[in-house]
Amino acid sequence: MGYFNHINRLRNISAVAAVLALGVSPAAADAQNGVLRVGTSFSCSSLNPYTTTQSSCLAALRLMYPSLGQASGSEVLPDLATSWSSDDKGAVWTFKLKTGQWSDGKPLTAKDAAFTFNMLLKHVNGPTARRARAIANVEKAEASDDQTLVITFKQPTSNAVGRLAQILIVPEHVWAPLAEGDGAKIATFPNDEPVVAGPFKLSRFAADQVILLEANGDYFGEAPALKGVGIQFFTDSTSMVQALINKQLDLVTPLPVTSVEAAKKAGITVASYPGLRFHSWLFNSSENQKASPEIRDIKLRQAFAHAIDRKKIAEVAYLGFATPGDSMVPKVTGDWSNPKVVPEKFDLDLANKLLDEAGYAKGADGWRTTNGRKMSYKVLIPTNVEGAEGLRALEIVTADFKQIGVELVTEQSDNATIAAAITGPDNTFADSTIAQWGWIPQMDPDFILSVVLCSQIGGLSETAYCNKDYDVLYDAQAKEVDPEKRKQTVWQMQEILERDRPYIVTVQQNNVEAYAPGWSGFIENPIGFLDYTSNRPFMSMKPGN
């Protein structure tokens, strides 16, 4: 049995090998053989579905493993689950599942799904902690028969299906031995030969170089239009763009904005559309920071907000591939973003006036002072993630701030150093004042709204902002199963953030992606082509027009 499986596996690999080998020849029409070759600068080092946080890995894993559903905007489309319903309180959810077959021939049933959720629950304070948010409030998972999964929550939970659908379901017969004891093996399992049941299966993985997938003939759903997928990882965008232009790639994500013109000239389709990623200013709200207490003054933050020329940043720093930002819940999430939260008008006179009124007097040399000290602040910026665009944006702001008598001094480093500088020393937030960084929210607002919770100080918090009223609202929205009622709470929270301004969102970045002629079915997906919540971007791509 094992021997025949091995033969089959070899045969499959050589079939896709022939196809993929054809794909590389510039002479062969790229789309003809149905293998989509994707180039990206987002690397992937590990295929362990519970430890990796890299978007490329997660997107590839989503093509291989089944999940209850696939995200589409703020909705969830059926995948392994064909339908779902909840009890009146929204605490018990019943999913009707398809059955299928794992790539080693064993059956895929609801028991695998129940095992997966229970494994994640059991080790949520250890090896599976990265998936804690997706299974928040889950009490237990049961398979009442091979096609029925029942998930019980400790309390009603908003966006329950959306959260659960993020989880990749793994085969019990492979993972049960890893989950024994403290489950430490879950976190150290390299998963280099994954046993899968999704639309594709792995034919080759070379960490940080390439992932090759071939269509899985035993997939329980509708067969994908693609015969194979290759994702190649680039550390330099010049060579990535050249590979696209020279027909060695079919799609590039993200396309550097400086290469848009060159790509268009070569007949490549460039898609530029609103994405989730935003860039922002963050203020240290901690009382431990004693050197510049004025940084906690809401009036000062308001004046600063009027002195940031978001339009110019979007047009000059981001070459027009961004829009002025407003709420931490981006407008592209639809109803979740509060329409009343809009960018402050750029008005240096008004900013000057607000600072004068707040008592920050301008000296003879043009610089403002407070407590006998010149108003000068170090702005921390993680250059490796904010990039040249981020630095240009900061230059624009620094020049404008000179006109309101406030000096900004750029301090660059890599993200780990900046993270430590923002929160340090020892998570006391005693030293930093201002930083420039960004977030990539999810389509559901829960995650991005959680970043400013009191309980996140020492965790995700980079502002030490803590507001008990806000936290109460957060808990309320997390429990609210009626989307309309939840929306009101979510809007209220955004108004609090607009008032207190732990963050000033400066720009909302576009997703810029490019694909070669001969392909169709590209969807503008706010998370981007490499989506950790949905396989739709890949599944909808088709060779031909």
Binding site: V24, S46, F233, A416
Partner: protein, 321 residues
């Protein structure tokens, strides 16, 4: 004890001390860097205080520094370099894989550089103060001063339609015969090796030129010339052997590049080598990977330099005095 064995013992002693110092420095150097492995790993949608604590436990970072150091030494004594935080694979495997990609590419590049550099340096010295010398010296100086990433980008733009510009092999090819695999690897190596060769040959040219020029002024060279020996013989037997010491030292120093790779070249060509691996490990604060890679690189460099000392001792016995 003869001065020769004293010299030898001294050099070996320094090498051994260097390796032990590396073991310890390696451990503490990265841990005193601001930022830790956990902060960027925990900056994800599932992030929380609990996740940070779980990760600290998983990687043994919750123990005091001395405890971690002891663990590290015990593991090292068993030949275990640990497990990479980001790929979850043994560091030994990762380092060997990266070295396997780096060494052929850098070796080819450095060999071209040495060949071109030493030859052009000798010619420039022999023809010194002529147009040939001027052309060679100026070209070497200009290219040597050009930033490596600029050379790389220019080569990518010029040759992208003819030669592969990324990776160590064709990711989409599944050729199974050894010759196609080899041909594919060599094709991928051309541009990165050429970049490295262009970026470094200038130093060999300039050092060789000045070393040979110095010996050309010596009496024994004039004597050889006066005896009517042909140019090639004077160069090969009189001038060059005596000019070799600085050249050998420079070549030994290149061992650092051969083994340690070049972050810039490997980044420009998405080359999955050791330089790139170390850069990634620094950004991710992947301590085991960083320690392992640096340890292997340092040991090799120390050993090659020891070898260079021995060769120099042979070339110029006066060194030991």
């Amino acid at each position: 004890m003869t001065s020769r064995s004293r010299y030898l013992l001294g050099k070996i002693g320094i090498a051994v001390f260097g390796i032990f110092a590396t073991l310890t420095l390696n451990f503490f150097l990265f841990r005193v860097l601001p930022g830790d492995a956990i902060s960027s790993m925990a900056r994800v949608p599932g992030g929380s205080v609990e996740l940070k604590e779980a990760l600290m436990r998983q990687f043994g970072l919750d123990k005091p520094l001395w405890g971690q150091y002891l663990d590290y030494l015990v593991q090292l004594a068993q030949g275990n370099l640990g497990v990479s935080y980001s790929s979850l694979r043994p560091v030994t495997d990762e380092v060997l894989r990266a070295l396997g990609n780096t060494v052929p590419m850098t070796l080819l590049g450095i060999l071209i550089a040495i060949l071109v550099g030493v030859t052009s340096g000798i010619i420039a010295a022999w023809k010194h103060d002529t147009a040939i010398d001027n052309v060679i010296s100026n070209i070497a100086t200009v290219i040597y001063s050009a930033p490596t990433q600029w050379i790389a980008i220019m080569l990518v733009l010029a040759f992208a339609s003819y030669l592969p510009v990324s990776g160590a092999s064709d990711p989409f090819a599944f050729a199974n015969d050894i010759w196609s695999i080899l041909a594919d690897r060599v094709k991928h190596m051309i541009l990165p090796s050429l970049t490295l060769a262009l970026a470094t040959f200038g130093q060999y040219t300039l050092v060789t030129r000045s070393a040979v020029l110095a010996t050309l002024g010596e009496d024994y060279v004039s004597a050889a010339k006066a005896q009517g020996y042909p140019v090639s013989r004077v160069l090969a037997y009189q001038a060059l052997p005596n000019a070799l010491v600085p050249i050998v030292t420079l070549i030994a120093l290149s061992a650092g590049t051969v083994i340690g790779g070049s972050v810039v070249v490997e980044t420009a060509f998405s080359w999955p080598g050791i330089g790139r691996a170390m850069y990634d490990a620094i950004v991710q604060r992947d301590y085991p990977m960083l320690q392992g890679a640096l340890l292997v690189v340092t040991i090799v460099v120390i050993l090659v330099n020891l070898l260079a000392d021995l060769v120099n001792m042979k070339l110029d016995p006066r060194i030991v005095e």
